[in-house]
């Protein structure tokens, strides 16, 4: 379980009121009743809180896939002096 996964599930629990029991690596956003607007909102929240661009995540993506995207964003951001660690 990566830092990115922890960050993502934290947002889902705290900002989207998803019960922790529903969160697994294989859960898709569709499973959680989330649509493209919800994903857009989550991307805004992640960007504002951590300066990371959460891209190419779709409603059918699993949480593991989304966390991988977030890790990629973190690696892309790492050389810059800007945002710190995601967690």
């Amino acid at each position: 379980m990566t830092d990115a996964y922890t960050l993502l599930t934290g947002f889902l629990r705290d900002r989207f009121a998803v019960p922790a029991a529903e969160l697994t690596e294989d859960t898709t956003f569709t499973d959680l009743g989330m649509d493209s607007l919800d994903l857009g909102e989550m991307a805004v929240l992640v960007r504002k809180a951590h300066g990371l661009a959460l891209e190419d995540v779709r409603a059918g993506s699993t949480l593991r896939e989304a966390a991988d995207r977030l890790d990629a964003a973190r690696r892309a951001a790492a050389p810059a002096a800007g945002p710190g660690p995601v967690a």
Binding site: R15, F16, A17, G33, S36, L37, G40, E41, V44, R47, K48
Partner: protein
Amino acid sequence: MRGRERDVAVTGLGLVTPCGTGTAATWRGLCSGVPTAVADERLSGALVDICCPVGEFGAVEALGHRVVLRTDRFTQMALVAAREALADAALSPAEWDPSRVGVVIGVSTGSTESWAPHFASLAAGRPEDVSPFLLPRTVPNMAAAEIAIRFGAQGPGFAVSTACAAGATAIGVARDLVRSGTCDVVVAGGSEAPAVPIVATCFAQMGALSRRTDDPAGACRPFAAGRDGFVLGEGAGMLILERPEHATARGATLHARLTGYGASSDAHHITAPHPQGRGAEAAIRAALADAGLVPRDIGHVNAHGTGTVLNDLAEARALRRVFGTPPPVTAVKSIVGHALGGAGAIEAACTVLSLRHGLVPPTANHDEPDPDCDLDVVTAAPRPVRATSALSNAFGFGGQNAVLVFETP
């Protein structure tokens, strides 16, 4: 001439007001005669920082966290009030024909609360921080849309905007949907959450708000000498309007009948009412004619009564011309403030409650009547009034007027 087949049944009421959540809490608060105005920290930095706030109204419990996240406060209050009204009407969405259920909601300024942080994002050069929920949160038709989504109402659904008359206009337009046979049931009302600094400051700059910020409870003084403006409120009012045959067939209880609706435009000024209240008078006369009533049939008037110098004088003049000696009048904005697009619907519900209870709630702060208004204003305590019909007035900026006539079942 008019037959009762043109009447529309009122079978449910729902209210979220500064007196409390629900019809019972609101009626108790109105009858107490105690104003709800206070200094409100949400208005910090505004030219006037007092209003009548709606406290905790159970949005998360009633609607769920996800709906609260994506909606503006005006939509949340509309949803909570609609939920109460449907329960009060004992209407189950599982049992109705959804294609024949409509939703019409009045809104004035809409959701100013939601915009502010996003303008700040743009100003800071961060357009990517603007939420994808911002537009669906803020478009004025979203209260009507969220009600339709939640309860499965697939008939006509829309918002109406006539400024401070919008809640009453919505009920009138909804009445026409029922009377025309388009709908069996319409959820009709208004909602507004204007307690934000920009709205308070705008109204203050126009000279419309009371400046008695050191005495919030004494600030709104409808029809009284020394009145100096209205006090912002917030809240939602919802009525269930129903085809009488539909209501009878399912054994519903009728709170009242909505028998008259009159609308007019002053065609005079963007904010000031016609000084003689000509537009208001026309709307009152139209509503009476629509109901097939004459002025002496009306036993009570729930006035628009904002507490501004101009409104109250124009309204009093209109009432005196129509009625000669008008029946007992009350102005509940003295207690709950002015909820703009919500006000006409909140007051329509109060008018129905007055008919049901045979009781007119008092107008607060009417200790020194304005002799130029010369009305029989109910003060100090609720007054027993055995009326069979009552008028609810609502007048909006732009000179747009809506008047409703309710009668006992």
